[in-house]
Symmetry: C2
Subunit: 204 residues, 2 copies
Amino acid sequence: MSISPAALEAAHLIDRLERLTRAGDAPGGINPAQWEALRYLARANRFSRTPAALADYLASTRGTVSRTLASLESKGYVARMPNPRDGRSVDFALTAQAQKALRRDPLKAMAEDIDRALRQDAADLVDRLKRTLGTAIARNQGRAFGACASCRHFCPQAHAAAAAPHHCRLLDVPLSDKDSLAICVEQEPAAMPPSRAAGRAAMP
Amino acid sequence: MSISPAALEAAHLIDRLERLTRAGDAPGGINPAQWEALRYLARANRFSRTPAALADYLASTRGTVSRTLASLESKGYVARMPNPRDGRSVDFALTAQAQKALRRDPLKAMAEDIDRALRQDAADLVDRLKRTLGTAIARNQGRAFGACASCRHFCPQAHAAAAAPHHCRLLDVPLSDKDSLAICVEQEPAAMPPSRAAGRAAMP
DNA sequence: ACAATTGATTTCGAGTAGCAATTATGTCCA
DNA sequence: TGGACATAATTGCTACTCGAAATCAATTGT
């Protein structure tokens, strides 16, 4: 039931590292929360670029991300379009201006520090952080937001010789190679969980 | 000049981990920035509990931390007292209420995740994060905020058999065992730096 | 003694954040 | 077919963060 001093120290360091990165962010009128939204949109597949998905990803509320996206839209970083399959929903996409801004993502400064400090040990750090994040997400009863390719609904090479050879059994759509590397709201790790309904029911 | 994919991924994971911890914070009316201030005050020595030091630590501005501390004061978490050595300066201290609140620090949830996910590998994670943070601080031209015991002005066992056996050569004051583990604004790693003046001159 | 520096605070504007209420769809079932 | 209910997004409200610039007081260097 007690927490190890090393783990507490590690949590402290993660907090501090993130703090320094956030503080040292570049000009351009993009706030930390807005950067997180841009990063998400850059990695999310076409079924996941909605305010609701982003709110889940950030463990925030829909009201908050609605404002964040409105702010990004007014600055020209994202564009909004109606969702063809659900009239209530809205899809967002990055503009060229956002693609350009992401090339100066302040997170890259932290990545540089990691490279400088650890050289090839970085892979080891990634492994440990991944395991920790998995645990944290489970505790938060959140969604994993992993890549399609590691999802239990992913069916590789379902359509031979097509431009989109893979397939999602949940949404029943074909997926390209690029799609299969994007993150998805609906993604569920391929391993154990018995059914989607059971997984959802477990989070009241 | 290019950033390794592993480092970028690690930066991403650190960002996300911190985000989830921040979002899942407990009730009690303490916001993330306020938690950071409480954590700092809990670890800082008696020469470092001022708004200016906290602003440096958080890589924020004095105006911002002034507001944060005022907010904490109005909620009864910190108490303010004049600094005897400098009439401009103000010292802050945690109240009993804050000590109690810190026992429910949301950061402990992340520490638990680390323990659960990594077991004894946590020490390894700490090592990698420490090296990275050192690099990040150097890049930001910030102060290290390390413990007295690892400072170049620290003189261990200067006063034999006293309650405060150690000594700080910079401030010319005796230090207890407990003091020597606290973090300090003035701390400078014991290793290489030639002089304090030179270190300061390096920050425009 | 006086100018420059430093510590703290305040004001201002933009934005984040959570909660609750609202509107517009979509879904399910009797 | 309706009606009840669930869901997506947004907005009003309030509290707070954050940075920049201005102000005031105390200290330091020359």
